[in-house]
């Protein structure tokens, strides 16, 4: 009993959404680069504000890198759903018979690929500036890879909820930051354990657990929120 339809399957749909998002990101690469630049600048501010002494910076390095990453993710979220809602694309997605939650998940994955992944790749460079030893690079990158992915998923729920609000960016921070506290705690803890050479499996596993939970339940909340956002 197959319906005659040219609708794509789940995986081919995922490929199409990812392809579209990455193409769009490539065309607006300056917008993609801005949160990264922000990340670099925020990290640079801390030595200027506190002290150039590497021993002191090393103590606060995990926290600085993580808070900066969190703020940079927050900044990037603003452009996640808003342009598509404003030009009507999202309305078509809602009306189409494809599963909205799945498409939004793929959109968020694409968003992470252009906003979270570069941040992970940049982090050893910035970490070195703050005195993070080379031995802690793998932990730094692993914690940020898991963590920024979780931040993207949680943040996407907030972005979807505020998409129907006119000036939503401050509101978005207010909604999303308290929800992201556990990610910050486990991420920064993993890095500081890694810097002293202790076992890091605990916090990394917990980060992975948060990510899995966010991926399984988040898209449904996003889809429900987007439906409210576009219905006006």
């Amino acid at each position: 009993m197959s319906r005659v339809t040219d609708a794509p399957g789940l995986w081919s749909l995922a490929g199409r959404v990812l392809g579209r998002e990455l193409t769009l990101a490539g065309r607006h690469w300056d917008q993609v680069a801005q949160p990264l630049l922000f990340y670099v600048i925020v990290v640079t501010l801390f030595p200027l504000a506190i002290s150039p002494d590497l021993a002191r910076l090393r103590e606060i390095a995990p926290g600085v890198v993580w808070v900066a990453a969190m703020l940079s993710c927050l900044l990037a979220l603003e452009s996640l759903f808003r342009p598509d809602v404003e030009d009507g694309t999202m309305e078509q997605w809602v009306l189409s018979e494809q599963p909205l939650a799945w498409m939004l998940l793929m959109k968020t994955v694409a968003h992470w690929l252009v906003s979270g992944l570069p941040l992970v790749i940049l982090s050893p460079l910035l970490g070195t500036g703050l005195g993070v030893p080379v031995s802690a690079w793998p932990v730094l990158m692993a914690s940020l890879a898991l963590g920024t992915a979780a931040l993207s998923m949680l943040g996407a729920i907030g972005a979807a909820l505020t998409v129907g609000v006119r000036r939503g960016n401050v509101l978005l921070a207010l909604l999303v930051l308290p929800l992201e506290v556990p990610v910050l705690i486990f991420g920064a803890r993993a890095v500081s354990l890694g810097m002293t050479g202790e076992a890091v499996a605990g916090p990394l596993n917990l980060l992975a657990a948060i990510l899995v939970l966010a991926i399984s339940l988040g898209p449904m909340a996003m889809a429900a929120a987007i439906r409210i956002g576009v219905e006006s």
Binding site: G164, L174, L179, A221, S232
Partner: protein, 243 residues
């Protein structure tokens, strides 16, 4: 099972009248209990051998802290019911819970700080329970901010409802992540199953105060939900007839 009573509760005129009848039955016992517990807690209960008279703030601190969490769960459950069964009254309940719960949270934080000054020598310590209570306050404020930013009540209801449900999933995670730190805060002295670590003579005022807070919350919630119904139904026929 007969669900008529439940469906009847969803009708604004019925709920408005019912809440009005319930309110005095909650409010006056609450007031009596709170006064009794306050008197017994402040004057009758013996002085603590370690903390002196400072421990007495517990009679306000513990009930408000436990209410802050309970009200948040109730808000999330009401919001969930509102989203699933599209029941406007459940959203009105959730909206009413938010403000009261936020004030309970503030009260718990303030009394905790007042207690912390003589005990720890500092108004504030980055202790797990204090911190998770503070994050709970942020969650309440975020919920209220999201509600306030929508002009249309129905959209505000649904959007903030999703946030409340996401928040309740997150609350245990926040709690356990924050407990990652070493705790300065003393462990819980109350236990329903085992014997309580608190001295029997100090216990009755605390339990009565907790019950009093619960009834007081119910009474204020009645007022808030009635106010919500009035503002939502301001153009409805039954209200114009009643006025």
């Amino acid at each position: 099972m007969n669900w008529t009573w439940f469906h009847k509760f969803a009708s604004p005129p019925h709920a408005y009248r019912l809440l009005g009848t319930m309110r005095p039955w909650l409010f006056w016992p609450a007031l009596a209990m709170m006064l009794w517990a306050l008197y017994n807690g402040l004057f009758v209960a013996p002085t603590d051998y370690q903390q002196g008279d400072s421990f007495r703030i517990m009679y306000v601190h513990v009930p408000s802290a436990s209410m802050s969490l309970m009200v948040y769960s109730m808000m999330a459950i009401a919001a969930g019911i509102g989203i699933i069964w599209r029941m406007k009254l459940a959203h009105a309940v959730a909206a009413g819970c938010a403000v009261i719960g936020a004030w309970f949270t503030v009260l718990a934080l303030v009394t905790g700080a007042i207690w912390g000054k003589p005990m720890w020598g500092a108004w504030w310590a980055w202790d797990p329970r204090l911190t998770s209570e503070l994050i709970l306050l942020f969650l309440y404020l975020g919920y209220m901010a999201l509600r306030a930013s929508y002009d249309d009540v129905q959209r505000a209801d649904r959007a903030s409802g999703i946030l409340a449900v996401v928040g309740i999933v997150n609350v245990p995670i926040v709690k356990y992540s924050v407990e990652w730190w070493n705790s300065l805060h003393q462990g819980s002295s109350l236990s329903l199953t085992g014997s309580s670590a608190i001295h029997p003579s100090m216990l009755p005022p605390l339990l009565v105060m907790m019950l009093g807070f619960l009834l007081f919350f119910g009474a204020i919630l009645c007022d808030r939900v009635r106010a919500e119904i009035l503002s939502r139904e301001r153009n409805a026929g039954w209200l114009i007839e009643a006025a």
